[in-house]
């Protein structure tokens, strides 16, 4: 009896520690907030442009992920080529890569001296780094794998006989993709989009490395929080609360899939 109780305690105590690890910081954020002053803090001249930029870049990221990620997910899901597992592994790399390393890699590719960036500058006169476009590049780089893997998972679950059946009805592969596959995996696309958007919203390391931290131009909400913590901690807390709220809303939207 005694040993059973101790064995239970051996499980329960670490479990409560784990919950505390996750909850204490969030509770602290709520306790330390100057609730009455939140509207004033959010009106801080760096907060509004940062939120606006985050909203703009993350929605652009989402559109780009959907446009290029959905076809990639479909090809990965249906390809039987020997190289497909390797390609899938390649897609996962940015998922485990430290974001700062991603930022350095983006600089090496699209920086003024970069492999592609130099040509872009010479031929078209475009310079990507330290612009809002660079923010989108960084966000797409980190968010796309989340989108592709979630959507590919949903597409794997789609009965492949639908493809053949649509073909016998005269549908081209493109029409089948557009009118059969995409609508049938819509829930998977929605959860992939939510994951990708949340990842893009929180993106910090790759953005600050590749796009810099210019208020109103490349300073996204997470960067603004970091900067404001020095000058105006209550503004940082207010902005953090806004982002926490957004995360909770996304979690709520995914509830049907993950919280059972």
């Amino acid at each position: 009896m005694r040993s059973v109780r101790w064995a239970r305690a051996g499980l329960v105590i670490p479990a409560w520690v784990a919950i505390a690890v996750l909850l204490v910081p969030l509770l602290a954020l709520l306790l330390k907030a100057d609730w009455a002053g939140i509207p004033a803090h959010l009106a801080n001249p760096t907060v509004v442009p940062a939120l606006r930029l985050s909203l703009l870049t993350t929605s652009s990221t989402l559109v780009i992920c959907a446009l290029i990620g959905t076809p990639l997910a479909w090809l990965l899901a249906r390809s039987t080529h020997r190289a497909t597992p390797w390609l899938r592994a390649l897609v996962t790399v940015p998922l485990v890569l430290p974001p700062v390393v991603g930022g350095v890699a983006l600089l090496m590719a699209y920086g003024r001296e970069g492999v592609v960036g130099r040509t872009l500058l010479e031929v078209a006169g475009w310079s990507i780094p330290f612009t809002p476009v660079a923010v989108v590049f960084a966000e797409v780089f980190v968010a796309l794998p989340f989108y592709v893997l979630a959507v590919e998972g949903a597409m794997q679950g789609l009965d492949p006989r639908y493809d053949g059946l649509a073909a016998t009805l005269g549908a081209s592969p493109w029409r089948t993709f557009r009118t059969v596959v995409v609508p049938m995996v819509a829930p998977g696309i929605a959860s992939g989009a939510a994951l990708a958007w949340a990842r893009a919203l929180g993106e910090f390391g790759a953005t600050i490395t590749f796009a810099g931290n210019f208020p109103g131009r490349t300073q996204t909400a997470p960067l603004a929080v970091y900067v404001a913590l020095e000058s105006d901690p209550q503004a940082a807390i207010a902005l953090s609360l806004v982002m926490l709220l957004i995360s909770v809303v996304i979690l709520g939207a995914l509830r049907g899939r993950w919280l059972r």
Partner: protein, 364 residues
């Protein structure tokens, strides 16, 4: 990819399907006139579905040729291959595979839309097809709201809405429960009679084949073992599987006398053995209902009397099928009452008799 297209004078279907796929070696010749319904029967893994998918263009031929309604669809030797969307086929599978996100009318209109028909016209066409299968009232329903029998009729309407030259039915009734199945089989029969193209019906249910098809084709391990009208096949099955499908005991033997066949050392007597050389191979069929069972050797016994051991008993409604092990395996169909009277149990020894006039013998 082959771009060449080839015309032929073939009006219906003429196919010589040869390909290897995994352990399956498929080599089947198949032909049919427009309006004809051909049932393809065979055990699992015999290549039925592969054959169907080859006709649909989902699998490519390695040798041979497929020609339908005046054009060659697949001919490796001529470097001709038409993709599934270029062929005029309709495919119906056991679990209907209706598009769950489209209404019934949009499911049926999907084919015409894919072939470039304007939306309003496609919907009109779909409406006509749905009326033809008695579902004109369910146009805006989602597939999930339909019963299994209705869903299968929608699947048929969808397959026919593109006016195919070749309709492919892959076990169209096997997922339905027995009651729905009988009704849907009847509906299917009515709709198919009005279809002017070739229908290939893959099934393992003899009732589907016998009630719907004009011609039966049996394949086993990728090869054609018998074909003919239902009447021909019932009268003279040439293979144990075919006999099992039509419900007959099947034996092979040698003709050893005017009325005698040697089946593995046992003499089976039959009055009407077609003329032919002695020692020639023959097929012997015995209807299970012609096998009578006795606890003791019957008096003045008929010439076909054999000691047997009960191997298995299967109840089929009011009758029972008793599998007997004697000189050869024999199935007997007896009433449930007879089972009780004889107190038949597995392992029991009985006497089986068959009237000579019930035994059918024909050259192998």
């Amino acid at each position: 990819m082959a771009a060449l297209s080839l015309q032929t004078h073939v009006a219906g279907l003429q196919a010589d399907v040869r390909l290897a796929r995994g352990t399956l070696q498929l080599g089947v010749e198949l032909s049919a006139h427009p309006g004809q319904i051909v049932a393809v029967l065979g055990p699992n893994g015999s290549g039925k579905t592969t054959l169907l998918h080859t006709l649909a263009g989902l699998i490519r031929l390695q040798h041979g040729q497929i020609a339908v309604a005046g054009s060659v669809w697949d001919s490796p030797a001529d470097n001709v291959w038409m993709s599934p969307e270029q062929r005029r086929t309709g495919l119906v599978v056991a679990d209907h595979l209706l598009f769950p996100h489209l209404s019934v009318i949009d499911n049926v209109g999907f084919g015409p839309r894919s072939r470039g028909v304007p939306k309003a016209e496609a919907r009109a066409r779909a409406g006509v097809e749905l009326d033809a299968v008695g579902l004109g009232e369910h146009l805006e329903a989602r597939p999930g709201e339909l019963s299994s029998g209705q869903a299968q009729r929608v699947a048929l309407a969808r397959a026919l809405a593109t006016a195919p030259s070749l309709l492919l039915l892959d076990e169209p009734l096997s997922a339905l429960d027995p009651t729905t199945r009988a009704q849907t089989r009847a509906d299917l029969g009515i709709r198919l009679r009005a279809f002017s193209g070739v229908t290939i019906l893959v099934t393992h249910d003899p009732l589907d084949a016998l009630s719907l098809a004009d011609r039966l084709v049996f394949i086993e391990a990728g090869e054609l073992v018998q074909e003919g009208t239902p009447q021909e096949v019932i009268a003279r099955p040439r293979d144990a599987y075919v006999a099992q499908v039509v419900g007959l005991n099947f034996l092979r033997g040698q003709r050893v006398g005017d009325q005698q066949v040697d089946v593995g050392g046992t003499i089976v007597v039959a009055p009407d053995i077609p003329a032919g050389g002695l020692g020639g191979p023959v097929c012997v069929t015995i209807p299970p209902s012609a096998v009578a069972l006795y606890r003791t050797r019957p008096d003045g016994s008929p010439r076909n009397t054999w000691p047997v051991t009960v191997k298995d008993i299967q109840r089929l409604g009011p009758t029972a099928r008793v599998i007997l092990d004697g000189p050869f395996i024999l199935a007997a169909e007896v009433t449930a009452g007879a089972v009780a009277d004889l107190r038949v149990g597995v392992g029991q020894e009985l006497w089986a008799t068959v009237k000579a006039t019930e035994v059918s013998v024909y050259p192998a």
